[in-house]
């Protein structure tokens, strides 16, 4: 048996170093990573230090423009906007990350189960998805708000519940594609059951798509949390959240426009950061998608 000449030089290696090298070439990945890193750092910092205690009222100093009183000025109760933005970052990020993690876990589990079981189980799950998906987080937060009272847990649950069908749909369609591959038929031929195949073949092959989807959903979660707290359905005052700051700023739009502009910018920047991170990851992890 003549040994075959060694194979053609391996195409771009899959090792982490190669991926990192390619990562460097991707602007999106880096800008996204930097933005999220920056905002994450500020959020963590706010747990230990803020220029002023965010709830400190200085009525006499109220509605001062940025740099006149504190780095970013003061709101209608004289509270330091910069400190509130920092703590707001922590509140928004923590709620969003928690909700997406819960939603992703439940959704992924559901998705791979649907792909493995098919049949009536798939029909019921897909029907349940349509039901949950029909009730946007704002409405479910209203219902839960009336039930549990508004606050952090309500926001987290409302967003997480809505995430489940999103992840279930993405996971199920990706998993079904893997199930149709011959290497899964070979695994069945080797006597492996649905669970072993899901662990050995399905999850590793769809992990990339779930990671990319998670970053996109994080952006959406930030937007949803901001909406909830804008309507007073998020965390109860005096805890500062970006959404609530926007709600308060509405009445002083003419006199203190920066109060409305700054929190909005913070939200947009964070969501942009997550979306770019998602795009960068998609290009990095799935070369076929490059240049989409």
């Amino acid at each position: 048996m003549s040994a075959v000449a060694p194979s053609a030089p391996p195409r771009r290696g899959r090792t982490f170093a190669a991926a990192l090298r390619r990562g460097l070439a991707h602007g999106k990945l880096w800008t996204g990573g930097l933005v999220i890193g920056f905002i994450g750092a500020i959020a963590l910092l706010s747990l230990v230090w803020t220029p002023l205690p965010p709830a400190k009222l200085q009525i006499v100093q109220k509605l001062k423009p940025p740099l006149a009183q504190g780095l970013l000025g003061t709101d209608h109760l004289g509270r330091d906007v910069a400190s509130m933005l920092m703590v707001g970052a922590w509140n928004s990020l923590s709620i969003a990350v928690l909700a997406v993690v819960m939603g992703a876990l439940a959704g992924t589990l559901l998705g791979v189960a649907v792909a493995a079981r098919r049949g009536w189980f798939e029909a019921i799950m897909m029907r349940a998805n349509d039901v949950i998906f029909a009730v946007p987080p704002i409405l479910s937060a209203m219902m839960l708000g009336a039930l549990l009272g508004t606050g952090r847990p309500t926001a987290i649950i409302a967003i997480a519940v809505f995430m489940v069908p999103v992840f279930a749909r993405v996971t199920a369609s990706a998993a079904l594609q893997v199930w149709s591959r011959d290497y899964v038929q070979a695994a069945r031929g080797a006597g492996k059951g649905g669970i072993r195949i899901t662990i050995d073949h399905v999850l590793p092959n769809i992990a990339n798509q779930i990671i990319v989807q998670a970053t996109i959903q994080l952006g959406l979660a930030i937007l949803t949390e901001a909406g909830l707290s804008f309507l007073g359905l998020g965390m109860a005052p005096p805890a500062p959240t970006w959404g609530r700051m926007l709600a308060d700023a509405q009445t002083y739009l003419g006199r203190a426009p920066w109060l409305a502009i700054l929190p909005g910018l913070a939200i947009a920047l964070t969501v942009l950061g997550f979306n770019m991170l998602g795009d960068g990851l998609r290009d990095l992890l799935d070369p076929r998608e490059r240049g989409r």
Binding site: M1, S2, A3, V4, P6, S7, A8, P10, R11, R14, R181, D182, Y183, Q185, A186, A187, R188, G189, A190, G191, K192, D200, H201, P204, N205
Partner: protein, 334 residues
């Protein structure tokens, strides 16, 4: 004592129903009443065009799908009669090689892990060292080097990937390998290498291969016996050399004439083929609307597989055609 056949397929049928609650139920017969045997240490070819049911047959022999009726006896035991646990234990004795070299290997796993996957079905799960040795030996047996085990599938060419797939199929030393279009996606020069490998495995390791393909020349080059299938039915079977030398069924003859041959130049001198739309045939021979020798009887009575007698070159051959004798006489007189 003639040895019992390794695989004994008896009246195997498989229907697929389509259409849901409200839509009309539409039943398609993928496989109809197929009976055949596969003897140890031989390469048994199954040839037929797309839609003739050969892949359905492969999945049923591999017990990856359940038949509507009939049974598959592996070493005398019906695969669909045993318990799930017992079936899992038996799976070590039959493995499968697929057509698409790029879809049959998990891109996320190293070659070593891919080839070792079926080992988990063995009773005493082999330890890590034993698995590595088995994989190394098997990679060499298929013409690759052991240090390929650490690489990922995307670094290999189509031909090498098929060798990896064959190594995976052989790791548990199975008695039967089902090869479904295993060389169809490969280029000419690489195809020959894989066909030689299969013949070596038959001769050196006594592996039995159920070799399924649409390509007559490939079957003729590698198979000992062959079964020709048409629209879910076995229409002819026998020693490959004899079948292709003198086909006893009009469809086999049609296939042999239609397949282009590198030694035949220019337009073949045969009447233009009319591939009229296949009609859903309940009774009678399903080939009759395309058969140049069809008679009234072909429309009313379905021809069963039968032997044509005991002469040396007819022994051990079967054909499902009422007019096989006419074909034989025309054959000799031409």
């Amino acid at each position: 004592m003639i040895e019992p056949p390794l695989v004994d397929i008896r009246h195997l049928s498989r229907d697929y129903a389509s259409g849901g609650l409200f839509a009309g139920r539409h039943v398609t017969r993928a496989l109809t009443d197929v009976s055949m045997t596969v003897h140890r240490g031989t390469i048994h070819g199954i040839v037929g065009e797309s839609g003739c049911g050969k892949s359905t047959l492969a999945r049923l022999v591999m017990a990856l799908d359940r038949p509507t009726s009939g049974s598959v006896l592996f070493e005398g035991e019906d695969l669909f009669g045993v318990s799930a646990r017992e079936l899992k234990r038996k799976r070590r004795d039959f493995q499968m090689v697929f057509q698409d070299p790029f879809g049959s290997l998990d891109p996320r796993q190293t070659v070593g892990r891919i080839v070792a996957e079926p080992l988990h079905v063995l009773d005493g799960k082999p330890g890590r060292a034993e698995r590595r040795d088995k994989v190394a030996a098997m990679l060499e047996a298929v013409g690759l080097s052991p240090d390929h085990a650490a690489r990922y599938p995307h670094a290999f060419s189509g031909g090498q990937r098929q060798r990896i797939a064959i190594a995976r199929a052989l790791i548990t030393e199975p008695k039967l390998v089902v090869a479904d279009e295993a060389v169809s996606a490969l280029d000419l020069s690489v195809q020959a290498q894989v066909l030689n490998l299969l013949m070596d495995l038959r001769d050196r390791r006594g592996v039995t291969v159920l070799f399924i393909t649409h390509n007559l020349a490939v079957v003729d080059a590698v198979a000992d016996r062959v079964g020709v299938m048409y629209r879910g039915r076995l229409v002819e079977s026998g020693p490959a050399q004899a079948v292709f030398a003198r086909p006893l069924h009009p469809y086999t003859r049609l296939l042999a004439d239609a397949e282009p041959d590198v030694t035949r130049f220019g337009r073949p001198d045969r009447p233009p083929l009319s591939v009229s739309a296949p009609i859903d045939v309940g009774v009678g021979c399903s080939f009759r609307n395309r058969c140049p020798r069809a008679v009234a009887r072909c429309a009313t009575e379905r021809p069963e597989l039968r032997s044509l007698g005991d002469e040396p070159d007819l022994r051990d051959r079967q054909t499902a055609c009422h007019r096989a004798e006419v074909l034989l006489d025309a054959e000799t007189s031409e």
